[in-house]
């Protein structure tokens, strides 16, 4: 039973109004393509931290991190620690991100063209957009399911429901996406940054307030007792958990390093920074946030395990956390949480739409751009691309029913992109003998291994137990690196 009332509705309405006003107010500062895609490269550290944190925390993140807490206890927060370490080291040393920002490029494939040629740039653009869009395709539905459960719209009556009542999720998320699309299309990165800032503040207040209430009312000791009783030592240490172990830790170490180095939405903050030093400081300043990003929703997941148990009727590991929240939060705080989660989702959607549009414009459409094109024409094309991505999200993610395992789906789509792109970036920046053939081989191998695993998993179920998603992921990273080395050395020898 949800406690969502008119006070909560008022808080949510006020938040939405403020976001739209802020997003639309800055659209007049957009003068050209660089303003639209990178805010004129004028972003400073604190705005960058707010934007990066808001972008990388969506409802989908909250759902998976809470599910990890529900299933694996505190061990489920280990990927967050690994990501924080990766981001801190990369930001501190400037590994790859410094040469990338100093090159003054707009996207990763643009840097690759300088070293490996136009073909690799286009192939990288296609892999990035494919991986990114397929990954993002499920965000809307996940966000909608969380919101419907928390506000109590999830329960449906048997038959006799109007079309609008039975499609509440689709209609709510369509309206939300339309709002995000309007300010992103008009203001580009400038609107994204300003709304990200507002959304970071609202999201953080909501996350922190709910967690203080949880620790105050339930207590850390009760949560730890639940983990010990239900999951044993594996709930505290992933190395002794039967489903995790070294492959899990190693896979997430490689995966998170790949995300930090090449995930275009993170890199866009580095490239929008006023210089490489500012970009590095944004990474260092945001690093510990990634521990919070996993541990705070992880605690909510453990609280759901504590309150509902491991096998509550009608509750899955994914829906356990929102179901628990619906009954736990009082009026007022419920509104704050819904506003916080809307903020998290809107900031992620706007940034992702803009980011993938920028790669399509800059790296896939670029070869067909005529020399005489004005900045205004480029601006119009970018706006149309953002709108087209919005339409894709609606059709693919919301109205098209997705089949299969969502977690595996997200992992596979991300690895297809991350394994090859991180190999290309490291080789591009630090290995003088890297060649075009090596880059092409890394793209093919990095994409082929996770796709092959996904197909084999469906056709030969034994593959899941004999190899598993973690070993297949590790193989993708190692395979892409080997392909780069072998391909480059063979071209050099020829």
């Amino acid at each position: 039973m949800s406690h969502f009332g008119w006070i909560d509705g008022g808080i949510v309405g006020l938040y939405l109004l403020a976001t739209m006003a802020a997003g639309l107010a800055v659209r007049r500062y957009v003068g050209g393509v660089e303003d639209f895609l990178l805010a004129g490269r004028e972003m400073d550290v604190h705005l960058g931290i707010a934007s990066l944190a808001a972008t990388e925390f969506g409802i989908v993140t909250c759902m998976y991190a809470a599910e990890s807490g529900y299933r694996y206890g505190f061990s489920g927060a280990v990927p967050g620690i690994l990501m924080a370490l990766a981001m801190f080291v990369v930001g501190w040393t400037g590994f790859c991100v410094k040469p990338l920002r100093d090159a003054s490029v707009m996207t990763l494939p643009e840097l690759f063209e300088r070293r490996f040629g136009a073909g690799v740039r286009r192939a990288s653009g296609v892999v990035i957009v494919l991986g990114g869009l397929l990954n993002m395709g499920v965000f809307l539905r996940m966000g909608g399911e969380f919101l419907m459960t928390v506000v109590g719209f999830g329960a449906t009556t048997a038959g006799g429901e109007s079309w609008a009542a039975s499609h509440r999720l689709e209609l709510t998320m369509t309206a939300l996406l339309l709002m995000v699309a309007v300010y992103t299309i008009l203001g580009g990165m400038l609107s994204v940054l300003v709304t990200d800032f507002l959304q970071f503040v609202v999201m953080s207040i909501g996350l922190v307030a709910v967690t203080y209430l949880l620790l105050g009312k339930v207590g850390f000791a009760a949560l730890a007792d639940t983990v010990e009783a239900r999951l044993g030592p594996g709930g505290f240490n992933p190395l002794v958990h039967p489903e995790m172990g070294w492959p899990y830790v190693l896979f997430y170490a490689l995966f998170n390093l790949g995300v930090v180095l090449t995930w275009q939405t993170s890199l866009q903050r580095v490239m929008a920074a006023k210089d490489s030093r500012t970009g590095q400081r944004i990474y260092v300043g945001t690093a510990f946030f990634f521990v919070c990003r996993f541990l705070i929703p992880g605690l909510w997941g453990i609280a759901a395990l504590h309150a509902l148990g491991p096998a509550a009727p009608g509750v899955t590991s994914l829906s356990a956390m929102p179901t628990w929240l619906a009954g736990f939060l009082p009026v007022g705080l419920m509104g704050l949480l819904v506003a916080a989660m809307l903020a998290a989702d809107m900031s992620t959607d706007s940034s992702y739409m803009l980011t993938w549009a920028s790669v399509i414009y800059n790296d896939i459409v670029a070869p067909w751009r005529r020399p005489g094109w004005t900045d205004q024409k480029g601006l119009l094309l970018n706006r149309l691309l953002v709108a087209a991505i919005g339409v894709f999200l609606l059709l693919y993610g919301l109205w098209y029913p997705l089949r299969g395992d969502l977690l595996d789906y997200i992992g596979v789509t991300a690895t297809i992109y991350l394994a090859s792109m991180s190999t290309l970036l490291v080789a591009c920046c630090y290995w003088p003998r890297a060649t075009q053939r090596g880059a092409a081989a890394a793209i093919v191998v990095g994409a082929a291994i996770p796709v092959a695993y996904l197909v084999l998993e469906q056709t030969t179920p034994a593959v899941r137990t004999s190899i598993g998603p973690h070993w297949s992921g590790i193989l993708a990273y190692v395979g892409a690196a080997l392909a780069m080395v072998v391909g480059s050395l063979s071209q050099e020898a020829a």
């Binding site: 500062y29 972003m43 604190h46 960058g48 800032f197 953080s204 996350l207 030592p233 946030f289 705070i296």
Partner: protein, 45 residues
Amino acid sequence: MSLARAFWWLLAWACLVWYSTLTVYVAWKGVRDIRRMLHELRRRS
């Protein structure tokens, strides 16, 4: 309290304290960054 429980207790509270502090600090300083960014863009145009 075992070492593993102590580690996660410390990390959970570190997250809450650090995140609360960061929110206030970034909320304060971020406004200045937005003003400076918009000023630069206005000056350029």
